[in-house]
Symmetry: C2
């Protein structure tokens, strides 16, 4: 059975487009708080698990050795917009480890933040690996390699010590065995392992609560959550969903987008992890769905509700600024609700 429609996009009085997908919200033991669609099919988590990949940066001792604060840790968890402050932060991380941008294998692209891209062009600059939205994560991997005393080169390969440590952490948090046949290559060239959406949500429940983790790992998870809550702009950038949501809710909500319609999140006070996959890979649908899940599960004051509602039903404006329709999360339940 196809996954349910999670989001509708309207124009005038008509639903113009629809997004199907699946949602898993579970606790650290894997008990289901909310589920839509098939949460058992393996999905690539992509950039939505950068905060879990960043565990290795702290656990390797690199974060302390290089004196990284909340900004650097948030950048390691980030899909940033390539704004000047993001780029400067990544440069700082590399310098701390006596590395330079040529060590980054994420590939070059122009800043995703359009005004920063245009400013870069105006200044005669061009796209570099530092502008790649994943450069903070890559800098974190490089720093981890240095702290682990292994050769940084090849840090993106599946058999490198850093990626093996990342894989072990993902298996510990998710409870899922990550098989070679479920491994793909991410947009930034590191391995990405597909896992069931329910397992992905469980990983974030453990990240949110520390439940089911050893005390050291639980403390590192908390340190990363606190860094993102303290410096949300470094996790995404100006006007972006992840930064806006964490900027509003602080440590109450952790959210992180990934390519191809993936979104992960954590609600620490409820001990819940969230994983969303929009079947067709569209971020707008995963974003509205994440907002709807937050609205549905988190106790909200009136101003919280009106804030989050803007993301549950964002207006669509055309190039002249006229409202032409809206994106609206519908979250229709299916028979799969309540399944664990």
């Amino acid at each position: 059975m196809p996954n349910p429609v999670l989001v509708e996009v309207t124009r005038g009085k008509i639903v113009e487009s629809r997004h199907r997908g699946a949602v898993a919200v579970v606790d650290a033991d894997g008990a289901t708080a909310l589920a839509f669609g098939d949460v058992g099919v393996p999905v690539f988590p992509r950039s939505a698990i950068k905060a879990l990949q960043a565990l290795v940066l702290v656990e390797s001792g690199a974060a302390d050795r290089f004196g990284f604060g909340a900004e650097e840790l948030a950048l390691a968890c980030a899909s940033h917009g390539g704004e000047p402050g993001h780029v400067a932060g990544v440069e700082r991380m590399l310098r701390a480890a006596k590395l330079d941008p040529s060590s980054l294998v994420c590939g070059a692209h122009w800043p995703l933040h359009q005004p920063s891209a245009h400013a870069l062009a105006r200044a005669g600059g061009t796209a570099s690996a530092l502008h790649n939205n994943c450069s903070g994560k890559h800098a974190g991997f490089l720093c981890a390699a240095c702290a682990m005393g292994v050769e940084p080169q090849g840090y993106a390969e599946p058999d490198h010590a850093v990626q093996r440590a990342v894989k072990a952490a993902l298996e510990d948090l998710s409870g899922a065995a990550l098989a070679d046949q479920n491994r793909g290559i991410d947009g930034c060239s590191v391995p990405t392992w597909a896992m069931p959406l329910a397992s992905l949500a469980r990983a974030f429940a453990r990240f949110a609560s520390g439940n089911g983790l050893g005390p050291k790992r639980a403390a590192v998870a908390q340190r990363l959550r606190e860094a993102c809550a303290a410096k949300p702009w470094f996790v995404a950038g100006t006007g972006r969903f992840c930064s806006e949501i964490m900027g509003h809710f602080g440590a109450r909500v952790f959210v992180k987008t990934g390519a191809e319609g993936v979104f992960c999140g954590a609600l620490p006070e409820l001990g819940l992890g969230i994983a969303i996959k929009c079947d067709d890979g569209q971020g707008r649908a995963a974003e509205a769905t994440m907002a709807a899940v937050i609205e549905r599960l988190l106790p909200l004051a009136d101003q919280d509700r009106s804030f989050v509602e803007r993301y549950v039903r964002p207006q669509l404006r055309n190039w002249r600024g006229t409202v032409v329709g809206e994106v609206r999360a519908v979250l229709r339940p299916t028979a799969s609700i309540g399944r664990s």
Copy 2:
């Protein structure tokens, strides 16, 4: 019943994302040559019908009065990339009618062609209505208003003479009545009317063949098709699907993309019109599906087949250029095949 999966997107050995949608291929009488999914639900055709909107530019006498050749007519049918040649062509159209860019109500955006956007920024320029991908269509509307002897101002309003003429042409070609409750506002502020996909395909069958049209309108349709076949770069731009496909096939294939996963096309030698709507609005899926429809229906030489195959199953590369997966049209038939 949901529409079938038209396109799968893979990463490694896994299908990462899926796109559902509907396809209608019909002749000028509305007889079905190929159908997938529900072709009876009204969909907004968006920019995919610019060539039909451009009928009014020629029929009003404007194209002859202002001496427009293939480039200007192709621009009127275009969603262009805002490359310098596109912008210069639109400026030429406006100058011919003694108008300037301030008459355009499409709204400003940066060139969709990224190198042109960066070059514009480097030169100290900024986004303008001329760079808007719809500026050629808008210039055409303005020129039509001048030739019709009506006030150009307000040309984007549903009750303006130009838009009423457009609506009448759309109803003539599609055979569908365009109701007010099915009217939305397009991204560039002109009216867009939702109609069944089968009706949209029929409009393009008539546009392709002239069958079912009066002789004058049939000749204008042919003139527009020939202009796009002669100057395909003006319909989209460097490296873009519409320009590449028409550049290869010339007058044998007309294709035009629209926002939210719509694609229309015409195969004149078969007298067929094509209309595709990807449910979730993603262009990559509509594009691969269009390529698959062409591959399936058009008699192809070996070099045509290998050319079009690149669009039926385009490779996905990451930022470093590594092949990480593919987009592949699957066009699985459903029970709706053969329905008219």
